[in-house]
Assembly symmetry: C3
Homo-oligomer: 273 residues x 3
């Protein structure tokens, strides 16, 4: 069988060729960097705020949809409920990014309802995945995770089995699991947590990878590999957040499938059950 | 008669002197780059979300208004309908940017209604201009245009004659037409399409130029010249999207009227009717 | 007594240690740079759009709240009214940034109502502070201030005494006053006015400093010192707005308490009454 590094490289190659159109229903803070990270990598971003238009796009040319609840309003929650149903009826894969779930009750309730229409992938930090999987934690740093990603692997596997979604837990090490098979992706840079929206944009990148990968698990691994390696290289060019952010976009555009195959560190994890 | 290059140079000079205040009713993704591109060039951006405040500003100190439907909601459509009527009664020129019209029905209907209060200028890519001019196309790349701008010149001229608006079709070559006279502006860089919001911010720059130019056609030509030359120079400094975006703002600030007069490539187009 | 430079240095040191969580209710244009400036300096940004979530966060882990009316809608005004009451009941300090008050009637009325629940600090340019203090001016440059900050010192002192809030008037020189004692902070760079959102993000930085300083007046002085010195250093690295903006974030991250103690220019102002 091919190595996960090789598969991730193939996903980047397919993404660049197919240029998937990613419908992003995301928070106000990160719309710009989300669009720019998608464009730099090779996807095509579309942001919409009208249910009729979302339905039209899902039934015409959207290749995937991201739902990120970072700055959720009641109006946006209604749009998202309709959108996930439309995505299902249109057969469009979608990714849930449960930002700050577990910390804030309203979005926690909304995300649990959204899960009734199972997403193709869920991307979150350890705290969010643990909260979404059912446990409650006293999490008090907003969108920052207090838990190490390794602490969420069991919760991620359980969440994947319960929902059928592939789960991508991000942190210093990223874990991708479909409930049966789990990979650990060890690229990345601490500086990525000092630029607003890198994590949220990762959800959009995951959506683009879904449209280019044979399986959601391979899409999740490719997402972690692509962003992790680009982040590492950008951090090598600048150790400070402002210039780092510009280099991150540059490195996403510069990255080749060959780089992914050679320089990513991905391991298969032993089952923890 | 003065060359279009010389006239565009004069527009930049007048823009820097007058510092037009541009009211931007625009989409959520691009508000920041829109404001920064205006500031870098010499305009003053104001973004508002309240009809009463929009009316106040239009009747006090706004020099122009941009209406961009990129992330249109029903609430925003209502605000925009009121705003174009207020702009007319206040005598403030306005620019319509019909993002993704032709692809998405709701905004297509809204833009056709907005055209009942004719804008001073319409800026769009080829697909959008063709759609707004009446033809329907199977357009499926969201805000990216699938058609070459040259393919939209006839539609642009017809749209200009029907609405009285100057039309600026943007692409590898930009075309500016008032329905009678048409110019082709050949500056620019492919990289400008890889940074979210450069096209949308061009609509705001066009609005600023309207407040500084003798005629809307000259404003459209100046817009294409200023952004095209700045984009070219930024691309010469960085071939990658993150650092390119920072250089684009720098180059807009650095650009002199003399640069515009010397280094822009603008041709008068023969009539195609 | 310790010098204001030394106290500002201590505030930066405490901010880095405590990493205050700042709830930002702010305008659409500046959310990204606001979050990035907070993160670069050492704070943790959270943006929310739902009253229930805002209340939850204020009663759990928010260390301060910013209210910025830059793109105010009626819906947002309702959210803000509830939020300032929730902040009071939770004992969370809050900062009002009255963007363009005096120019636009709706937000002027809203801000005067918000003042019924006194903020801990008010940050504005000269025109805004003069308008909020009661005088009406014919202000016509939107978010740009037409008045010199020195012209607003009396109004700032009166506003501070009337509301009990510390007032930070920003401009070429920044003035911080609690109504009795006034400091002038003379760091900064003109280029900071050419990047959208630096002023608005200053309000968020002030909120973070409130959570790290012994008194609101010291927080206001520290805010002006930190941003002014970082701006000065960024301008020394790049005289153009795009690359300057990236350097500004870098310099905020690089700045040490020692730099603040050594290189800021802060004077105590004689009473002007």
């Amino acid at each position: 069988m091919n190595s996960p590094q090789y598969i991730a490289a193939e996903v980047l190659s397919a993404l660049r060729e197919r240029r998937p159109l990613v419908l992003c229903l995301t928070n106000n803070v990160v719309q710009n960097i989300t669009a720019n990270m998608l464009l730099a990598t090779g996807g095509v971003p579309v942001m919409l705020n009208h249910s009729g238009e979302i339905n039209d796009l899902l039934h015409s040319c959207a290749n995937g949809m991201l739902v990120n609840v970072g700055t959720l309003s009641e109006q946006q929650a209604q749009i998202m409920h309709a959108a996930v149903n439309d995505a299902r009826s249109a057969g469009v894969p979608w990714v849930l990014d449960p930002v700050a779930v577990g910390l804030l009750r309203y979005r926690t309730d909304v995300c649990r309802e959204l899960l009734q229409t199972p997403p193709t992938m869920i991307r979150g930090n350890a705290s969010e995945i643990i909260a979404l999987a059912g446990a409650e934690g006293a999490l008090c740093r907003g969108v920052e995770s207090m838990a190490e990603s390794a602490a969420a692997v069991n919760a991620a596997q359980a969440l994947a089995r319960r929902t059928g979604a592939t789960v991508l837990v991000t942190g210093e090490t990223d874990y991708a699991t479909d409930g049966t098979t789990t990979y650990a992706c060890r690229n990345g840079a601490e500086l990525m947590t000092r630029v607003t929206g890198v994590g949220c944009a990762m959800g959009a990148l995951a959506t683009a990878c879904l449209a280019a990968a044979p399986t959601p698990l391979q899409a999740a691994v490719a997402t972690a590999a692509i962003l992790g390696l680009a982040g590492e290289r950008a951090a090598a060019k600048s150790p400070f957040p402002g210039t780092f952010a510009a280099h991150l976009l540059d490195e996403l555009a510069l990255l080749t499938p060959d780089d992914i195959a050679k320089y990513t560190r991905i391991d298969s994890e032993p089952s923890q059950d």
